[in-house]
Amino acid sequence: MEQKELIEHIEKNFKYKKEIKVIDGKQFTITVEKDKVLNLLSFLKLIDFKQLALITAVDWIDEKKFEIVYILFSYSHIQQILVKTFVDRDNPQVETVKNLWDVASMYERDVHEFFGIDFIGNDDLRPLILHNWKDLPPLRKDFDSLKYSNKMFGKFKKDEEI
């Protein structure tokens, strides 16, 4: 399907509240409510968006929200869809999608480690990349990376001797 037909198809068949925005000829975004993400993703999987390319998050600290982005790709339509949803920053929880795509469990571990977002239903959220991490999740905007680095690894100037 062309992008136009695809968007019409989604508008017609997915009845819940949504907002569709075209980025360019190959990709567009769909923003939905948090509890309708699973419905939308399984609907998109049925219309041949078989690949989950990435799950990631954006920290909107002023609006006190996390934006969770699911990037889907279809080899038959040659289209990319960015499914977006917003969760509360103080209590970031969202349903897991690991039952739709197995690979999602890894992406969710990653997002959980770097943003502290909980994925309900994913019981394997062990640390994945960081070593022995005890602080705030490092990709949150209120985490001061420079301060952490100076305190943890020391601050060095050019000619300083140990």
Binding site: N132, F143, I162
Partner: protein
């Protein structure tokens, strides 16, 4: 064997002879963490031909003399580097490439990259640059050879003497139990 007599080994003159031979046969283990790993193949192969200095790559840390830290080092790989360094047989030397192991380089504000390698391992030689060209690497190697011949490159002895200090620094980063901030 002649070498088995420890009295002779302690003899300074004998050590000097050993150092002369050591500097002519350096086997390096390059721990490819960062971008410096890219500079090593041209240094090894025909264009700059490292082997004319008697240096060659070695597959296992137990038979290598040189540990090359080629670029930035994250906390996770620091742990592996320490394992590797402690497996190596004496005498052993550490060379740090580029500015990242000196003061963090462009990763000065990173939450996962260490700022100064010398806090955790004894660095015998730092090659400046981001990244150093093969000429700079060769230059650094010849400097290290001179230091070995003079008996000045004694990082591994420093590591043994100040073992507690190094271990304390390593534990602070690797086995922390409380948050930093």
């Amino acid at each position: 064997m002649i070498l088995s007599s420890t009295k002779e080994l302690k003899d300074k003159g004998f050590e000097q002879i050993l150092d002369f031979f050591r500097k002519k046969s350096l086997w390096m283990l390059h721990y490819c963490t960062g971008c410096g790993a890219v500079e090593l193949p041209p240094t090894m192969t025909s264009r700059w031909d490292m082997e004319r200095f008697g240096m060659g790559p070695m597959a296992t840390p137990r038979q290598a003399d040189l540990l090359l830290i080629t670029g930035y080092l994250s906390v996770k790989s620091l742990k592996r580097v320490i394992y590797t360094y402690e497996q190596m047989q004496e005498p052993k030397w550490v060379i740090a490439f580029g500015s990242c192991p000196i003061n963090g380089g462009i990763y000065y504000d990173s939450y996962s990259v260490i700022n100064r390698l010398a806090l955790y391992l004894p660095v015998d030689l730092s090659i400046e640059g981001c990244m150093p060209r093969p000429e700079a690497i060769i230059d650094g190697f010849t400097k290290l050879m001179k230091a070995i011949e003079k008996g000045e490159a004694v990082g591994y002895k420093k590591y043994k003497e100040n073992y507690e200090w190094y271990k304390k620094n390593q534990r602070e980063v690797l086995e922390r139990t409380t948050p930093v901030l």
